[in-house]
């Protein structure tokens, strides 16, 4: 169990004003936040690296705040594909084991095992620069796993990868990380990662903790518009109704002719279409509703004419009031 106490990610508040959070072993906690929200600082604080963040770190009821980073049982994977360029893949993966003083035969067995789990067993003799970006990041992840640390920090590890690679690695990562009884902290700015990887979710905003909990609970009951916006793809639709302010998720807005809405209590809106985007399985229709910018997310390829006014509806129960 990893606990952080009195954390201030911007290093600007007086002591005692910071937040606390507990990360459980065997669970993946996705830390979601925009750029500059302090995600990386949180990782660096836990790892004991130089950062502006302040706070105390406890691992399994022992304070490790003062401990040298090398002596903490923590490993980290970075955004950039960081490997030792002059070592082969096998030597890269084996490097933390060597540092731990594990002898060669045992080391090789473990390297082979980890490499196979990450499907890089065929590249063990190559150098990092001879690999593709996806493979390089696999090596970095393998090295982090090899250390068998009690805490594994992954700081937006997939952000620099092609989208198809990302998809494949995401699925593998989840199984791999669940198999170990490690505290896994995975930072991201993509709300999709919260659901696809996270057992737990921690929302950060401006260096502060916004909300935490199971992804679906945070999704259903966000504490405020910012928390809702962080977990919205691509953003939330704000609305005013009888002096109340609320918001709708893009996937909760439907075209008015949607049959499934019949007989349920709905709110109707007029949307002026300004843009349509699609990736095949979903379409994003951007538009204006009463002066506010809205997006609706719908199945399949939908292309209403730009500039046209369409009637849209939302279930009353889906509106989140603040």
């Amino acid at each position: 169990m990893l606990e952080v106490v009195d954390v201030d990610l911007k290093g600007a508040e007086p002591a005692g004003e910071g937040f606390a959070h507990t990360f459980l072993p065997g669970e993946i906690t996705v830390v979601l936040g925009a750029n500059q929200s302090g995600k990386t600082d949180l990782c660096r604080l836990i790892a004991g690296l130089n950062t502006r963040a302040t706070g105390r770190v406890w691992l399994d009821r022992q304070e490790i705040s003062q401990l040298d980073s090398r002596r903490r049982s923590v490993s980290m994977v970075y955004q950039a594909f960081i490997n030792y360029p002059n070592l082969t893949v096998a030597q890269n993966i084996g490097s933390p084991l060597r540092a731990q003083g594990i002898e060669l035969p045992a080391r090789e067995a473990r390297v082979a095992d980890i490499a196979e789990r990450l499907s890089i067993q065929d590249y063990l003799g190559r150098f990092p620069h001879e690999l593709s970006g996806g493979q390089q990041q696999r090596v970095a992840i393998a090295r982090a796993l090899a250390k068998q640390a009690r805490v594994l920090l992954l700081d937006e590890p997939l952000v620099n990868l092609d989208f198809k690679l990302r998809e494949a690695l995401e699925v593998e990562l989840r199984d791999l990380l669940h198999a170990s009884n490690t505290v896994v902290v995975y930072t991201s700015s993509d709300p999709r990662d919260a659901f696809s990887l996270g057992d737990q979710l921690l929302l950060l905003d401006g260096g502060k903790k916004l909300q935490s909990g199971k992804p679906i609970d945070v999704y259903r009951q966000p504490v405020d518009a910012r928390a809702m916006g962080l977990l919205a793809d691509p953003c939330i639709n704000e609305l005013k109704h009888e002096a109340r302010e609320g918001a709708l998720r893009p996937e909760h807005v439907f075209f008015a002719d949607d049959l499934a809405l019949r007989g349920r209590s709905c709110i109707a809106f007029e949307l002026t279409v300004i843009a349509c985007e699609t990736n095949g399985d979903e379409s994003f229709v951007h538009g204006e509703v009463a002066g506010a910018q809205w997006v609706m997310r719908c199945d399949g390829i939908r292309r209403p004419r730009l500039g046209s006014r369409v009637s849209v509806k939302a279930l009353e129960q889906d509106v989140i009031w603040f």
Partner: protein, 301 residues
């Protein structure tokens, strides 16, 4: 894979305190080195420049007397003007020539590394050897250059004609230092991403427009460094003219350093020489500062 720096204990502490002054300790060695290498010797000179020291026990405070004397010294003013003329001339030749040479080097050829090494050769030759090379090279009686010029019908003798002496000095400096500008510019040119050239070509830009709008703006940084280096260096030039012309004929190639050396080493006028040195130092500082702020202000605009 942790960065080395983070292993230091004092850096660790910063993680828990917003403000920590221990980092200053890290810069202390630099202050000490700079103190020993620059500030202390400089203060010695300043000390000499405001006193008249006859021997260890008899010294008189003279205030700014030496400074006034130096500034009113006609030979100082002449040397100063000559110095500015020299620096301006070599800069005016070396910068454009250096860029031109850099543009002439192919970026992709297999010969490029060899060309670069050849270019760097003059930079590796000791100053006084450069002087000696040119001393012989330009001699009108036996030097290759001198003989050739005379054979071409021009009467050339750098030991007798002040203009010839000047031209020879400039030629020597250009020969010695243009490579530096060329190497810096070449590094600047190779760092320009290919799409910039491609875009300019598709826009229909001609060669000089590519130079003016793509290359020159991106060479700014290295050119500022090149100009600063050459300005300081040429302003302090001593060995080569000393070997080549000895300041002559007459005083026509006597630059500031040379005059200073005569004063301090030849006549042992330590007070005036010290004042001279301080003024000299301030002038170089002033020029560099002027140039730098000019460039930076231009940048702001």
């Amino acid at each position: 894979m942790l960065p080395l720096l983070t292993n230091k204990r004092w850096l660790k502490v910063t993680a828990f305190k917003p403000h920590n002054n221990r980092a200053w300790l890290g810069v202390l060695p630099v202050f000490l080195i700079v103190g020993f290498s620059a500030v202390i010797p400089l203060m010695t000179v300043v000390n000499y420049s405001v006193q008249d020291i006859l021997d260890f026990n008899s010294r008189f405070f003279v205030g700014f007397q030496w400074y006034r004397d130096t500034l009113n010294d006609a030979r100082f003013v002449d040397a100063f003007i000559r110095q500015i003329g020299f620096s301006a001339t070599v800069l005016a030749v070396e910068i454009p020539l250096g860029i031109a040479v850099a543009k002439g080097i192919s970026k992709t050829s297999r010969m490029t590394p060899i060309v670069l090494v050849l270019l760097a050769l003059p930079l590796l030759i000791p100053w006084n050897v450069v002087g000696t090379i040119w001393l012989m090279f330009a001699r009108p009686d036996i030097g290759l250059l001198g003989v050739l010029i005379n054979a071409a019908g021009f009467s050339y003798n750098y030991t007798a004609d002040p203009l010839h002496a000047w031209l020879t000095l400039v030629a020597m400096d250009v020969w010695h230092w243009t490579s530096l500008v060329a190497l810096l510019s070449f590094a600047g040119l190779t760092s320009i991403p290919a799409p910039y050239y491609q875009a300019a070509e598709l826009d229909g830009a001609r060669a000089w427009q590519v130079f003016r709008y793509v290359e020159l703006p991106r060479l700014r940084g290295v050119l500022v460094i090149a100009v600063l280096l050459r300005l300081m260096d040429s302003f302090m030039i001593y060995t080569e003219p000393f070997v080549l012309t000895g300041g002559g004929p007459g005083n026509s190639t006597t630059f500031l350093t040379q005059y200073l050396a005569t004063m301090a080493v030849g006549q042992f006028d330590l007070g005036p020489a010290a004042a001279f040195s301080v003024l000299y130092f301030l002038f170089i500082l002033l020029f560099c500062w002027l140039f730098y702020t000019m460039v930076m202000r231009n940048d702001e605009r």
